[in-house]
């Protein structure tokens, strides 16, 4: 039986600085609203699938993409959420751990902008 979904306005665009994951509470559930550089938004459960850290208290970053020995290539700027505990890097597009096989995934919710307000479907 699937629970009914509802839409919750969590604030105005200005409440959510670019490049940060700002935590709001919906029905006792902590959800981080990430406003990405490309103008998109993500809503992420503040719970790391690895060992339960408040993952949204980490930071949004790019990363070094896999490359040749001794060479650094920086990419995906602003698309990665880094957990403040063991440092797992999550793709904010899919919620998946990047560049490795893993079943661990961020729990993400649909989020949209309506009349300058940020609305999350939970």
């Amino acid at each position: 039986m699937s629970k009914e979904k509802k839409q919750v306005t969590v604030g105005r665009i200005a409440d959510f600085p670019v490049g940060k994951c700002t935590v709001v509470e919906i029905d006792g559930r902590e959800i981080g609203i990430a406003r990405l550089k490309n103008g998109e938004y993500r809503a992420v459960r503040n719970h790391c699938p690895h060992k339960g850290a408040p993952v949204c208290k980490g930071f949004i970053s790019g990363t070094m993409v896999p490359g040749a020995v001794g060479e650094l290539v920086y990419g995906r700027d602003g698309e990665i959420l880094v957990c403040p505990w063991h440092g797992y890097e999550f793709d904010l597009a899919t919620g998946a751990v990047i560049y490795q096989e893993s079943s661990e995934k961020l729990l993400m919710y649909p989020v949209e902008i309506r009349n300058g307000e940020v609305v999350v479907t939970v």
Partner: protein
């Protein structure tokens, strides 16, 4: 994946927890402990600007994410994670229903093992110990303390144990290791004092390990990055267990207990197999070793759990612990460091009774709890 939402789950509600590894941070370092040292030494440290020196690690060993501490564990009043005892009690002990937490100050450890001279270390060690007794242990009775010793001077270390070791919340002696194996007679005055006071010896990487000359160094050479160094820090634990047993420390000090904290533990099983085999073959070289090395280790040595290794198949870990036996391990978080483990997420696959041993019984019978 079955991960609980909160650190504590209903399944764990009754689980009693002793956390063997918690790191208090003395906010202003040496400056904070000025009131706890003789005036002449205070003047010496002020004049050489000791209280503003950074004690930074070389660049190549800085944490790749810029901080060895959890940024989400910073006290609301500001400051470094682990620097406010009141917040630590709330954030770690209350949140995770931890009954006892053993404090181990790595600032003292690194100053004593490496960063200060011998005389400086003797003064600083007492000052940091007294500061923590005074400003931390008084905050909450659940806070217990592994007092440090100035290990560059074994006689002074023994004197420090006898000076402070009776304090009821002191439950262990934190021994900052040098690049001298633990069975060496250099350490014996410290073991004598610890045994006399009924305190176990706790060893933990102090920070400069595998970086500077002074503390233990990883086997084979100097690592090139944080990750390389991190993975090899356990090697000193392996060498130390071997050395303690074959040099006869536990025959000389039959009531001595040692706990290896944050050295990992999965290496123990193959080490014991090798030690046992070699002893059976060449026992006569070390005739004071009267029993199998396995027996000495089971009787005298314990290992903390964090950082728990994570095989892709979690059951593999449970199997290895079953092979090791459940009497060796003591749960630890390593709060507030980045690689900490919390009780609600740790060793969940083990049977209840075995889990209770690891989270409570083994530590309770190792530390001087009263």
């Amino acid at each position: 994946m079955d991960i609980p939402e909160k650190p504590q789950t209903s399944r764990d509600a009754a689980l009693k927890v002793i956390d063997c590894d918690v790191h208090p941070y003395v906010k202003d370092g040496i400056k904070s402990v000025f009131p706890y040292m003789p005036e002449a030494w205070k003047q010496r440290f002020i004049r050489k600007n000791a209280h503003v020196s950074s004690h930074a690690r070389p660049l190549k060993y800085e944490h790749p994410n810029g901080n060895v501490n959890r940024v989400d564990a910073r006290p609301p009043c500001g400051g470094i994670s682990g620097s406010d005892p009141h917040y630590l009690v709330k954030d770690l002990l209350d949140q995770n229903k931890i009954q006892h937490a053993v404090l181990n100050c790595l600032q003292t450890g690194s100053l004593c093992s490496t960063l200060s001279g011998t005389d400086e270390s003797v003064v600083l060690c007492s000052a940091f110990n007294d500061f923590l007794v005074d400003q931390w242990l008084t905050v909450d009775n659940r806070l217990k303390f592994a007092m440090s010793v100035p290990s560059q001077d074994p006689q002074a270390s023994a004197a420090e144990i006898r000076r402070l070791g009776k304090h009821p919340q002191i439950v262990a002696v934190s021994l900052p290791l040098l690049n001298i194996l633990m069975g060496n007679r250099y350490w014996w005055p410290i073991y004598a004092a610890a045994q006399e006071m009924d305190l176990p010896i706790l060893v933990h990487v102090t920070g400069p390990d595998s970086i500077f000359y002074g503390p233990p160094i990883s086997a084979g050479g100097i690592p090139d990055s944080y990750v390389e160094r991190y993975v090899t820090l356990c090697q000193a634990g392996e060498s130390s267990v071997n050395s303690l047993v074959f040099s006869g420390v536990f025959e000389k000090f039959p009531r001595l207990k040692v706990i290896f904290v944050e050295y990992g533990f999965l290496w123990l099983l193959p080490l014991l197999w090798r030690m046992d085999r070699t002893w059976r073959q060449l026992r006569h070289e070390v005739p004071w070793v009267k029993k199998s090395p396995v027996e000495y280790v089971h009787k005298h040595i314990r290992f903390s759990t964090q950082p728990i290794d994570e095989p892709r198949e979690p059951k593999d870990l449970d199997k290895l612990i079953e092979l090791m036996g459940y009497d060796q391990l003591c749960f630890s978080t390593d709060y507030p460091h980045w690689d900490n483990d919390m009780p609600g997420q740790s060793l969940r696959g083990l049977p209840k009774a075995e889990r209770e041993k690891i989270f409570w019984d083994n530590a309770y019978s190792t530390f001087r709890m009263r």
